[in-house]
């Protein structure tokens, strides 16, 4: 009996960090760790069991399902860490360095997305790098395009800035042609509203 109890306790501890169901993100100001974004309509927050390669402090939201669209918010990637987690030791994930310039962050995102979709199964490119101010921080934005084997083609919009030697990054990625356009205005508003909490 004691043994069964122990198993339940262990399971409880193991599962405490996992959420298995989607939850509603209501319109208004939403805090994701040290970032705050403004959203005009509701999104669905994906459970960690559906976003296994995401950083533990990141959140992934969707309107029509993760295969069709996603808004990813990654607050504060420290120097030397990657934008995502992959189990394979041979994945050669690129890492963020605090002295990176916007063009290097653009390359970091491209390469990370390539690893996310599968090296060899995808080609990711980017364009339109331009400056953008997120609250008090000068950041930048750009577009991405991902051709993925056995999958729809994706387009994306990325916004990012560096503060206190950490990278804050938000991106919207959705299937083209329909879904990308469907939520672009809403996603763009959310990304551009991102500010670092005081």
């Amino acid at each position: 009996m004691k043994f069964v109890k122990l198993i339940f306790v262990a399971l409880g501890i193991i599962l405490s960090g996992c959420t298995t169901t989607y939850s509603l993100v209501s319109p208004g100001a939403v805090a994701v760790d040290s970032l705050t974004v403004q959203i005009g309509s509701g999104w669905n927050r994906a459970p960690s069991t559906q976003t296994r390669s995401a950083r533990s402090d990141a959140e992934t939201w969707t309107k029509d399902g993760l295969l069709l669209d996603r808004l990813v918010i990654i607050p504060g990637v420290p120097d030397g860490e990657s934008l995502l987690f992959l189990r394979s030791e041979s994945a050669a994930l690129p890492v963020f360095r605090a002295d990176m310039l916007p063009n290097e962050i653009e390359e970091l995102v491209e390469s990370s997305m390539l690893k996310f979709f599968g090296e060899g199964n995808s080609v990711v490119s980017s364009e339109g790098l331009r400056p953008y101010r997120f609250g008090d921080h000068v950041g930048f934005m750009f577009e991405v395009d991902a051709i993925v084997s056995d999958s729809p083609r994706y387009r994306g919009l990325v916004g990012a800035f560096i503060a206190n030697n950490e990278l804050y990054i938000l991106y919207y990625l959705a299937a083209v042609p329909y879904y990308f356009d469907k939520h672009l205005v809403e996603a763009q508003r959310a990304i551009q509203s991102a500010v670092l909490n005081q």
């Binding site: 394979s88 030791e89 041979s90 994945a91 050669a92 994930l93 690129p94 360095r97 002295d99 310039l101 916007p102 063009n103 290097e104 390359e107 491209e110 390469s111 390539l114 690893k115 090296e119 060899g120 199964n121 995808s122 080609v123 990711v124 364009e127 339109g128 790098l129 331009r130 400056p131 953008y132 101010r133 000068v138 930048f140 750009f142 051709i147 084997s149 056995d150 083609r153």
Partner: protein
């Protein structure tokens, strides 16, 4: 005295071993099917063809297929020359993938990854890989493998069921053994395809010595890699390893066709392909974030004679993106060399600008940024560059 005796014994032993090895060498291989082959009446083979045709339809729609006529004609030309009478049996799909691979199905659907072109030092090496794939096709390897796995798995299931009844515990011993047996069979087929492939390549007047050079270069690339590929486990070793393949192919080719030519002639056909499509081919490789491998490929391209402006630009990219101590200086030197040579892309100026910006030399950075915008006035990142030129407020 004893040492001499040991030497004689050792020599005798080696002679016996080589005699055994020689005797164990496979019979001369030939094709098992005629050109224009279609499935026999067997339902399993027809089913296999139907499945593959369905897959081929979806592959045809893939946005990852390379559509550039020059690249496709180059690869299709090699395939047709090696395939000879079997040329019309193949549909060739060039896939945008920086990895090293080619594959063939029982129906003649051949996929070749762009990473193969990037890694080749000559058209003969591409022909060697193509010859290997064609040999798989004409020896019906896919069908044989499919049938063998099916029959062994059926017997294995009966054995496993018996074991489960006897022990009361589900032990998939039969299936594991069937899988190991199948993998050994698979490796045997690979060797067979290697040897027949060499014959096809030689018959098409390509250099058969290219067959082992491919594997030697692949091994060199692996040695240069900072992050190694995961080694295949016992249950996934479908191919002999690169070293073993290079060794037995060298032995076989030298024996059958004599020693390799000492002088290597520049391969203009491959050079043209690389020079004309270098940017997208190498950008795909660079995006893998595998700098040791990329550098190894660039060293090969330098020797091959790819436009220095292009190769040095990618040396610069490799060092800049790797970002280790001393890499900034190496990158600046490589970019500068690129700008002084034929084929340098406009991005070279931009990245020189960024590197000098990082080093705190704003005037020099701005000089390069201006040169970039002059060379590429419609650059999609114009707003970012103008920001650094101070022409635009955020």
């Amino acid at each position: 005295m004893n040492t001499g005796r040991h030497r004689v014994l050792l020599a005798t032993f080696l002679c016996i071993c080589s005699a055994v090895l020689y005797a164990a060498e496979p019979e001369p291989l030939g094709h098992l099917i005629e050109p224009g082959y279609t499935p026999e009446d067997a339902a399993d083979e027809q089913g296999l063809w139907l499945e593959i045709k369905e897959y081929e339809r979806s592959l045809n729609q893939s946005a990852l297929l390379v559509r550039q006529a020059e690249l496709r004609n180059y690869i299709e030309g090699i395939v047709c020359r090696v395939a000879a009478d079997y040329c019309n049996d193949f549909r060739v799909y060039l896939v945008r993938n920086p990895g090293f691979n080619a594959s063939i199905t029982a129906t003649g659907m051949m996929q070749i990854w762009t990473g193969l072109i990037v890694r080749a030092s000559s058209t003969d090496e591409i022909a060697a890989v193509v010859g290997h794939e064609i040999a798989h096709y004409t020896r019906l390897h896919s069908l044989q493998g499919f049938r063998r796995l099916k029959s062994q798995m059926a017997s294995a299931s009966v054995l496993d069921l018996g074991l489960t009844i006897l022990t009361g515990v589900p032990v998939p011993l039969g299936q594991a053994s069937a899988l190991l047996n199948y993998l050994a069979f698979n490796r045997q087929q690979e060797t067979e395809a290697d040897l027949l492939g060499v014959q096809l390549v030689a018959a098409a007047a390509y250099d058969p010595h290219a067959s082992y050079r491919v594997w030697n270069q692949l091994q060199q690339e692996e040695d240069a890699a900072a992050v190694k590929r995961e080694k295949a486990g016992v249950f996934s070793q479908t191919h002999p390893n690169s070293e073993a393949r290079a060794e037995y192919l060298l032995q076989y080719v030298s024996q059958e066709f004599g020693p390799a030519d000492v002088e290597q002639v520049a391969d203009q056909a491959l050079l043209n392909i690389l020079n004309n499509h270098y940017l997208f081919l190498m950008e795909d490789q660079l995006d893998t974030n595998r700098f040791g491998r990329t550098r190894e490929i660039l060293v090969r391209h330098t020797k091959l004679g790819v436009k220095p402006g292009l190769v040095n630009y990618f040396f610069g990219e490799t060092y800049r993106q790797r970002g280790q101590p001393g890499d900034r200086e190496l990158a600046i030197a490589a970019y500068t060399k690129s700008t002084e040579s034929d084929g340098s892309p406009p991005q070279t100026f931009k990245n020189l600008g960024y590197l000098h910006l990082k080093a705190g030399d704003v005037p020099l950075a701005q000089k390069y940024f201006r040169e970039y915008l002059e060379a590429q006035p419609d650059a999609s990142d114009r707003a970012m560059i103008e920001f650094y030129l101070g022409d635009q407020e955020s």
